[in-house]
Symmetry: C2
DNA sequence: CGCGACGTTGATTTGCCTCAACGATTGTGG
DNA sequence: CCACAATCGTTGAGGCAAATCAACGTCGCG
């Protein structure tokens, strides 16, 4: 398990006192699989860091179709960025896929920490920069690659997730229907 | 025209000395339309702020198909985030659509300024946060909306761009071929 | 003027979706 | 501990949105 302190240490070096301070501003929670920890229409009050387990964020269209924005397993951050920033109701759900231990960093504490420990402002800047690059790449992939190619890329990028995530959610992340994904997979295996 | 200082003032307050310092770290350039200021395969050395005119970033697939990632007119930032961060060759082109005045902020100066003026770290964090939210929304739109809906959203979001950008580039941003875009537009006008 | 990029339109194809039916697995209450 | 429902993945038939290919008119520009 990768702790939040180890995660932060990848980009900035905190003193023991700063580490203490940071942890004192967080809340550690345990959630069972299938728990929905954020609903669309609600205001996102926390940044979530995953200690263990697996979560996902997604939206729902026409009350039917889900679209997965992100998976987050150990060592990843997740949240509804839009709602977190604006403190307005978002349209993302966040759901637990596997029983999880999650560190919650309340937004007001995060803002406060930016002042108390400027290095954390750097840390989150870098975190978000990387996230932006990843989203830009995924956007371009959706415009230029076929479903098969996107799936192959997903496999090489997140090999561990393939066994852990229901197939229909991978299909949703890739951007195809579960039915088409099933056929596509069968076709790819035949080669 | 919105200056870089006005743009920054939207989120953080710089002293006159800090403003002076910042400007001393930038280079102002004038480019003619059709100039390619960054090629795929090159390392992106600057963040670009657009004083006037219009630019775009895009990639090319199979030596043929262009995909527009971003348009940037007065008051917008543009660059190849991936290449800028990693200082490795990127796969984005940046091209001038309309004659432009552009402020170049070299990467090493930007990193230096983060230390000299921590408020700038906050500014760029906020800038990138907003960019991330926009990219997440566009990604989800591409997964859930039809081409018509994406075009309507583009129109309401960037009304001024519609007259300024060649139609085939809007098609590319939306994620359809120029031919299909033309037919779709005609069909929408008929209503 | 003549070339090259752009936008339009039509005919055809295709990647992916929709709907529907069916086994396998899971889990839940009696 | 079983029965039943619910969810999941699979497969097939048919349909549609968008791509491809090709031809043509227009405009800006050297």
């Amino acid at each position: 398990m990768q702790s939040i302190l180890e995660n932060i240490a990848k980009h900035v070096a905190l003193t023991p006192e700063e580490q203490e301070l940071l942890l004192s501003k967080t809340i550690t929670q345990h959630y069972k699989a299938k728990t929905v920890i954020l609903n669309a229409g609600e205001i996102c009050k926390y940044s979530y860091f995953v200690n263990s387990g697996l979560l996902r964020s997604f939206s729902i269209n026409d009350n039917i179709t889900e679209h997965v924005l992100q998976f987050a397993c150990e060592g990843w951050w997740i949240g509804d960025m839009y709602s977190l920033l604006t403190q307005k109701p978002g349209n993302l759900f966040i759901e637990v896929i596997e029983d999880a231990e999650v560190v919650l960093l309340p937004k007001e504490n995060q803002d406060e920490l930016y002042h108390l420990i400027p290095k954390l402002e750097r840390f989150f800047r870098i975190l978000i920069e990387n996230s932006l690059v990843a989203h830009q790449e995924r956007l371009m992939d959706n415009l230029s690659l076929t479903a098969e190619e996107r799936f192959e890329k997903f496999c090489s990028k997140y090999p561990t997730l393939i066994q852990r995530v229901p197939q229909k959610q991978i299909a949703s992340y890739i951007g195809v229907t579960p039915e088409f994904f099933s056929k596509m997979k069968a076709k790819m295996l035949r080669k």
